[in-house]
């Protein structure tokens, strides 16, 4: 068995072992064994990545579906893109597994928790190693299912199971898009294997077909539906509502699923299908603008949230916007680069936040924290590291990926490129504001925890700190380590497709120096402004009473998305379904159908009954009438 297949099955093995542990109630064995197995997988993935030339290939497992003349296989399609995803997924997952040993220590159901985590990892590997659209869908829905189970892990909390349901259903909207895209692709390409579809994509460029009476471009339509799926999974605006609610799950879950891996599956999908997206410039524009809007929208909401996890969740949403507009300007490798660095620093941030929540006895409101830096200096240090990487301060990893996207966008010298550049800088400014606000309110100033609670706060156990340390290495060095994937396009070996051959790094380096500096300066400037505001000016300005407090309310209400959706899709649907059931089904259909027929028969029989009254006189009358009728008919017919 070759190494990629071996890595592929390790999480499945871990899931199976954990499942047995659930049956035999062996919590300890489950956490140790699963962490061990996933760590081995992570180690081997790094090994494979370093020796990537040796391992690239398509490793077939078995024929899954015979679809007409097409055989869809379940396989490990190990190309550079998959190699990177294997590395990210397995390494973050391994660290999250280890972290969870400490975080979930007091939970009686933790064997089940580890079972779900490993299953998730396996599903994610299925997703990234697909060589056809259906295997990708298997992984796509698999991760969605695990996310559903993990978000609702504390199921006795009503909010948790509601959030789980919401995540599942919102994602289903995206899946609907995916299904349509698959059906369209099969209808026109006669195949669902990536190889067949991608190699033919150029010949379908500009081809039109009739859809809902409109003459539309085939590839644009397909890619739009694919992007709808990506929007659902990656929480882009409109379908983002599930992500903040998903924070009901345990924090390690948020780090793994809702920051590092699953939510980036949408970006992966776009990058994987780059041969299709490249042929549909309309979709690319759409992706760019959706990415931009999401980036700004989510960052703005993050400014005013008080829940530490929700701030980071909206931040994730906004960073996903960066990845998408990078793809929108055809810089897929930059998008993937940002995906990788983001996975490390955002997982670091989430796990550190988890550590804070853990030591604060499950308090998540940052307004109720404060002054923690003296109590938990190591966690404080990690959060600072993660935030610096997030803000894009050199030399941390976020700087490499984020600035490269902005600089390359500027080098395009188009309206779209400039829009990306300036709005991206605006997003970066907001990123620095909410990051600094989070750090300041959590760690500085006076503590708002109860004295007794504050006194009892102490640093998290080693089993939680070691993963944080390793992730912080990733947050610092992943920028250097993965720089080659954007520097040398030859690394990708056709797994990404570009219409025009551009070296992003070279182009980005040739823009005026001032524009290279501008994003960094903005970020630093705003960081200091916010720091200054919180430490000195907090008492002078009270924003909430000012005229733009109305805007603040809009932001605080998350731009009314949840309220609107609640009204439209829950209340109205309930009423509508009651209407269909009570009125249409029971009144109209039954009324015209069985009840109507039986009523007719019944009433007709009531009239006919009148003839059968048992009186000889009336019988004789009818007989005479009948005879007359009979003879007159004979008479007429002659």
């Amino acid at each position: 068995m070759s190494l990629p297949i071996f890595i592929f099955f390790l999480p499945l093995l871990s899931t199976f072992i954990c499942f047995l542990c659930v049956l035999f109630k062996e919590n300890r064995k489950a956490e140790i064994l699963s962490s061990l197995l996933i760590s081995i997988a992570a180690f081997l993935s790094i090994l494979c990545y370093l020796k990537i030339n040796v391992f690239v290939g398509n490793y077939n497992i078995y024929n899954w579906i015979n679809l007409g003349n097409i055989e869809l296989k379940l396989s490990v399609f190990y190309d550079p893109l998959t190699a990177i995803m294997f590395l990210v997924v397995n390494s973050v997952s391994a660290l999250v597994h280890i972290f969870s040993i400490g975080y979930m220590a007091s939970d009686p159901y933790r064997a089940r928790f580890f079972c779900y985590l490993s299953l998730f990892t396996f599903a994610m590997l299925i997703l990234v190693s697909a060589d056809n659209f259906i295997q990708l869908f298997l992984g796509w829905e698999g991760v969605g299912l695990c996310s559903y189970l993990l978000v609702g892990f504390y199921f006795s909390k009503l909010s948790a199971s509601n959030a789980a349901l919401k995540a599942f259903l919102v994602n289903r909207v995206g899946d609907f898009g995916y299904l349509i895209a698959i059906a369209l692709i099969f209808t026109f390409f006669q195949s669902l294997n990536f190889e067949d579809v991608f190699s033919n994509s150029a010949s379908y460029a500009g081809k039109n077909f009739i859809f809902f009476g409109y003459d539309v471009d085939l590839l644009t339509t397909i890619t739009m539906f694919l992007f709808l799926a990506a929007m659902g999974k990656s929480a882009q605006i409109g379908l983002h509502v599930w992500l903040p609610d998903a924070m009901e799950g345990p924090t390690p879950v948020s780090a793994l699923i809702h920051a590092a891996t699953m939510v980036t599956a949408g970006v992966f999908l776009v990058a994987r299908c780059s041969p299709l997206f490249e042929m549909a410039h309309l979709t690319l524009n759409f992706i760019t603008y959706i990415g931009l809007v999401t980036c700004l929208f989510a960052a703005s909401v993050a400014l005013l949230q008080d829940d530490i996890k929700k701030i980071i969740a909206y931040s994730t949403c906004s960073q996903l916007g960066y990845m998408f507009f990078a793809c929108g300007i055809s810089a897929y490798s930059l998008g993937i680069f940002h995906l990788v660095t983001h996975a490390f620093f955002k997982a670091l941030l989430f796990l550190s936040a988890g550590s804070v929540i853990h030591v604060c006895h499950h308090e998540q409101n940052i307004k109720k924290m404060g002054g923690l830096c003296r109590k938990i200096p190591i966690t404080y240090f990690f959060i600072i590291l993660g935030s610096l990487a997030l803000m894009g301060i050199p030399p941390f990893s976020g700087y490499f990926s984020k600035d490269l996207i902005l600089e390359f966008a500027f080098s395009l010298h188009s309206i779209k490129g400039n829009l990306v550049y300036y709005l991206g800088c605006l997003g970066a400014a907001m990123t620095s504001i909410y990051s600094v606000r989070l750090i300041y309110l959590t760690f500085h100033g006076k503590s708002k925890l109860k004295t007794k609670e504050y006194e009892s706060v102490k640093e998290a156990p080693l089993v939680m700190l070691v993963p944080l340390f390793l992730l912080s290495l990733g947050a610092i060095f992943s920028g250097f380590f993965f720089y080659k994937i954007v520097k040398y396009e030859s690394f990708w070996k056709n797994s990404l497709f570009y219409k025009e051959n551009i070296n992003f790094v070279d182009n980005a380096h040739h823009i005026p120096f001032i524009f290279k500096l501008f994003p960094i300066i903005t970020v630093i400037l705003f960081s200091f402004l916010v720091l200054f505001y919180f430490s000195k000016l907090n008492t002078f300005f009270d924003f909430t009473n000012k005229s733009f407090s109305k805007l603040l309310i809009v932001i605080k209400q998350k731009w009314y998305f949840d309220i609107l959706y609640n009204f439209l899709f829950i209340k109205k649907l309930k009423i509508f379904s009651k209407f269909l059931w009570k009125r249409v089904d029971q009144k109209i259909i039954d009324g015209l159908g069985p009840l109507g027929v039986s009523y007719c028969v019944y009433s007709a029989s009531r009239y006919l009954k009148a003839f059968q009254n048992g009186k000889i006189f009336s019988y004789a009358t009818f007989m005479v009438l009948g005879i007359i009728l009979f003879f007159s008919l004979i008479f007429i017919s002659f």
């Binding site: 015979n66 006795s156 059906a183 059931w581 069985p594």
Partner: protein, 490 residues
């Protein structure tokens, strides 16, 4: 070729079982114990015979196999004519597998008139197998319509509170359809001078006549499926039927209507089938969307599952009338999958009902706390019902959608929306009964499944996952026959 009449045997064995059930004597407790064992063993023998048929079946042949023919009436060549192709084979296997499961479960649920119940069930099995085996249209009609009798009795005698109304509705609906079916058959026999289905396949009916014949049979089949708007008998029948009745109704009987479309409408009346395909497709799309929305309003779990059956059968009819190989294979797959999954879901509700005597959602909460094993099985079945990849439900939906898209883009689009709507009501159900509790009630302590119940559920869940991960098992079997069904279409 083997000369032993296997198909007749498979139909007669349950009937012999029914006669023995009639003859069993003794005291009350002994009789019911013996009856149950009799039923189990009879159905297991039938299962074994069906497996023998499977083993001796030649997958590469496109002809009907195991043919038996005895002429009854030489005028129209009306004959006792049996034979199977791979399409009927998979339905036979589905039937013979589900019946033993039902009988194994039935120990708990039937409290009175056990003898009559067993007789009705065995008769039902014989008649269902008869439908799948018959190659003469008159014989087909007899089996097809006599199904009504045992089912009517099962609902009417062992059903719940409102059983009289339900059985009446069921009866009226089915009877209405059968009249037109009979008229069509008479017309066919007079025009072609034969009632043998293989010969009718090759007989060309005038296009105008085809349309009338097609429409006459459509009502009967559509009511059995049931298609929208002929579906309203189903939720009532399910609610009042005992658990086993529901399992058989959803698992096997609903497939009979769709099977009739495949066996009669499509091969014999190809032009009319094409002519009416967009009509059927529209009804199917309405069925998927409409019943999914209606299912969302239900508070009775059994009714919810019943409505979901209508939605799933919407996929089936859409797949059949996409008149494409992939679409028909998809709808066959969907039927097998639905047979397993809906039987499993009705069994689950039966298991819950055993414990609490309630089918109302609000009476359940946090089942996962007290019944974790049950919850695991239930969730897998629900996931298959919403078409999650890796389960059998997905393969059927995928193939149907792909098949429909080929000729009906917009309707395919609408039918695809079922994956959202299906998830809405099914996952809401899971949230409501498995994961959370309504505010009014307190957590009820329920005992988890016993060994027998675990085995039954495990069996169904295993098949759901097996077919989801290895769909080629069925796809390879059905392929030749589907091509044969489509031979009259260019």
């Amino acid at each position: 070729m083997i000369t032993f009449p296997l198909l007749s045997t498979i139909i007669i064995v349950p009937l012999i079982g029914a006669i023995i059930a009639f003859l069993i004597k003794g005291d009350e407790a002994n009789v019911s114990k013996n009856l149950r064992e009799l039923a189990i063993w009879t159905s297991l023998v039938v299962l074994v015979i069906s497996i023998i048929i499977l083993l001796q079946f030649d997958l590469n042949s496109q002809n009907f196999q195991f043919i038996e023919k005895k002429t009854i009436l030489s005028k129209f060549d009306i004959s006792y004519h049996l034979g199977v192709d791979s399409v009927s084979l998979i339905f036979i296997l589905l039937t013979t597998t589900l019946f033993p499961i039902c009988f194994l479960y039935s120990k708990l649920s039937i409290k009175f008139r056990t003898r009559e119940f067993v007789i009705a069930m065995l008769a039902l099995e014989a008649l269902t197998l008869g439908v799948f085996c018959s190659l003469d249209i008159v014989l087909f009609y007899i089996f097809f319509e006599s199904l009504l009798i045992p089912m009517f009795l099962i609902i009417g005698i062992w059903g719940g509170k409102n059983r009289i109304f339900s059985s009446f509705k069921f009866f009226l609906y089915t009877l209405a359809g059968s009249v037109f079916f009979l008229i069509s058959i008479i017309f066919m026999a007079y025009t072609s001078n034969t009632t043998s289905i293989p010969q009718l396949d090759n007989y060309y009916f005038d296009v105008y006549l085809q349309k009338w014949l097609w429409f006459g049979m459509f009502l009967s089949f559509a009511i059995k499926v049931p298609m929208w708007p002929f579906h309203t008998w189903l939720p009532d029948a399910h609610v009042e039927a005992p658990t086993i009745g529901s399992m058989i109704l959803a698992g096997v009987l609903l497939k009979v209507g769709a099977f009739a479309f495949l066996r009669i409408s499509l091969p014999i009346l190809p032009e009319a089938s094409i002519y009416f395909s967009s009509f059927i497709m529209t009804l199917s799309a309405i069925a998927v969307v409409y019943t999914s929305i209606v299912a969302f309003a239900q508070t009775d779990i059994k009714k919810l599952i019943a409505y979901s059956s209508v939605a799933h059968m919407g996929y089936v009819t859409a797949g059949i009338f996409s008149i494409s190989k992939i679409g028909i294979q998809g709808s066959l797959f969907q039927m097998i999958s639905h047979g397993i999954v809906s039987a499993g879901l009705f069994l689950s509700i039966g298991l819950l009902y055993e414990r609490t005597k309630s089918r109302i959602m609000d009476d359940y909460n946090l089942i996962i706390k007290s019944m974790p094993i049950f919850s695991l099985f239930f969730i897998v079945l629900v996931l298959s019902s919403v078409g999650l990849p890796g389960t059998s439900g997905f393969i059927g939906e995928l193939l149907v959608v792909i098949g429909v898209f080929k000729n009906f883009l917009i309707l395919g689009f609408i039918i695809s929306s079922g994956i959202i709507l299906g998830a809405v009501y099914m996952m809401s159900l899971v949230r409501k009964i498995i994961f959370t509790g309504s505010n009014s009630s307190t957590v009820t302590e329920l005992t988890d499944l016993n060994v027998l119940e675990i085995l039954l559920m495990l069996f169904l869940v295993f098949f759901t996952l097996l077919l989801g991960l290895f769909p080629n098992i069925i796809l390879n079997i059905t392929e030749t026959s589907v091509i044969e069904i489509l031979k009259n279409f260019n």
